[in-house]
Amino acid sequence: MKRQVKLLQGNEACAMAAVAAGVRFFAGYPITPATEIAEILAQELPKVGGTFIQMEDEIASMAAVIGASIGGVKGLTATSGPGFTLKQENLGYAAMVQVPCVIVNVQRGGPSTGMPTLPAQMDVMQARWGTHGDHPIIVLCPSTVYEYYMLTIKAVNFSEMLRMPVIILSDAVVGHLREKVVLPDISEIEIVERKKVTVPPEEFLPFKPDADDVPPFVSYGKGYRYHMTSNNYDEGGYPATNNHQVADKLLRRLHNKIEKRRGEIVMTEEIMMDDAEVAIFAYGCTARSAYSAVETARAQGLKVGLIKALTLWPFPREVVEKYGDKVQAVIVPEMNMGQLVGEVERALKDKKAGVRPLNRFDGKMITPEQIVSAVKEVK
């Protein structure tokens, strides 16, 4: 077992992790600050027999990734804000039709073209609600290069396991940062494959789920002829556009896939929270500043802790709730005008702790000093 010590850029770690997780198809369209992922995979995928294609836009890229996944191969695409918007249409398709795929969004400043080379955390709600309809989604958010690597593997695994799209929401800081990382040996990394069909073709229904609400998968051309549609569909995969019962059941199942595995999917780190009187709830690059702020505040005798969310959606409400009556306040620093803070408020609505947003949206990171000042204001 050999651990690998490397100096890696965040986007590079993501691309390497994708290959390690078994991704063999990438379709994309160039955009800063995500392009490195495409460039590296253009080089690496053919070496392992995989395919890279640069499509005419992000709509087509998302479609091609889903097409490849339907073909039976693990697919991934990477983009940033404007491109992420274009991916939304087919992202919804993947959620509805239950096609595994991973979308990396290296966030930059918006709205619109905004600040292409500067970081932001403005797509938290787009990641959750960008595509229309009440769809399920998993969104993971790294704050270090190491986490970027590990969460990319998790994202591929979750998507294959649950047959659904998974989003990685990184940002220009984590994407372009170079850090020393110690990667586990490939053999130690758990790689998940989609559940295979066990029944013969005559008994097969493409969307008949198991107890975990996930239907097993078989690709086309293996003797199982079937249909899939993005219209409301029955277990046989055929349109049931006006069937209320079928619609109700389908939507519940799509969401239950996540709820049934919530414990595994919701990932957080609680740092120095045992005796904390003030909590900072942070994610992504802002969690780096928050960590530093906790260290500084502790050195000054302030009882501060950090709840770092690695999973943004489903929102880790159980972890936040736990501290609701223990801490005086939860500070939520975000590089936007206040997005995830609403979820923190929701989780704490019947609790004693107050919620304090701390926002910055000028393309600069929130500094540890800003967070320490916010802590002192509570006290």
Binding site: P46, D57, A63, A68, Y220, G221, K222, Y226, T229, S230
Partner: protein
């Protein structure tokens, strides 16, 4: 021996959703017979569609089938074909689906010359949404969104496909259904990107607003206005005024995308990238 199209249908999915007199089923029949002619097995064929009346074709045929989002079928098909090059990929699209919202994907798929056979069912209108004008609606025609007649010129999707690099292009109509079957048969056998435009009648969305009340009148219009490209070679511009061409327009060989990519993989594995 003549084929019974029913043998290839999912009869448990009947009745289909099309209006009486619709031309979509005629085009689908030609496609199914063409697949039969070529001798592909049901398991090796995959038929991918977008959204529209044309897209509903693949729910009722007994091949591998999936429907995608509006206009994007060719992009899904590109991803699929690249990972499963051994499968015979057929895309059925509409004039709105393929030439409107999916127009950009169409030209780039032509350019890549990836081995996908596309049948573009051109009923001159957005049928499923109730008769709005499409990029292929003839200028001056009436539609729900063109109550005074369209001011927009339409384009020739076959010329566009040729210009974009498609290596097999042809056109037929629901009336000239034998020709349609022949063209689709050749398109399926062709290695590279092929496009066959099938001009069909939409009596509900188009005909009744454009002085063609019955499907028969519409088929008669197709008969009277279509000129085979071979016959057209000997005709004057005046004789061709108001007519459209049918037949095989392009049939040439060029390297196919998945084959080229396979070569790239072999090179990357033996030599490494630059």
């Amino acid at each position: 021996m003549a084929v019974h199209v029913q043998d290839y249908l999912r009869m448990h999915k009947m009745p289909h959703i099309w209006c009486p007199g619709c031309g979509t089923g005629i085009a689908l029949g030609a496609v199914v017979r063409a697949i039969h002619n070529v001798g592909y097995s049901r398991d090796e064929v995959i038929v991918i569609t977008g959204i529209g009346c044309s897209a509903r074709t693949n729910a009722i045929i007994d091949f591998n089938t999936f429907q995608t989002t509006h206009g994007r079928a060719l992009s899904f098909a590109t991803g699929f074909k690249l990972t499963r090059p051994e499968m015979k990929v057929v895309v059925i699209t509409g004039d709105g689906d393929g030439a409107g919202i999916g127009g950009n994907h169409l030209i780039h798929t032509c350019r890549r010359n990836i081995d996908i056979t596309t049948i573009l069912i051109n009923n001159s209108i957005y049928g499923m949404t109730g008769g709005q004008y499409s990029p292929l609606t003839p200028q001056g025609s009436y539609a729900t969104t063109a109550p005074y007649g369209t001011v927009e010129p339409s384009f020739d999707i076959c010329k566009l496909a040729e210009g974009a690099g498609a290596t097999y292009v042809g056109r037929a109509t629901a009336y000239h259904v034998t020709l349609l079957e022949q063209l689709v048969t050749k398109a399926l056998k062709h290695e590279g990107f092929s496009l066959v435009e099938a001009i069909t009648q939409c009596p509900i969305g188009y005909g009744r607003r454009n002085k063609m009340k019955s499907p028969t009148e519409m088929l008669k219009w197709q008969k009277e206005h279509a000129v085979n490209v071979k016959a057209a070679a000997g005709m004057s511009p005046e004789q061709l005024e108001g007519k459209f061409l049918i037949g095989e327009f392009v049939n040439k060989t060029a390297p196919e995308y998945t084959k080229l990519y396979q070569k790239l993989i072999e090179d990357a594995q033996s030599k490494g990238a630059k």
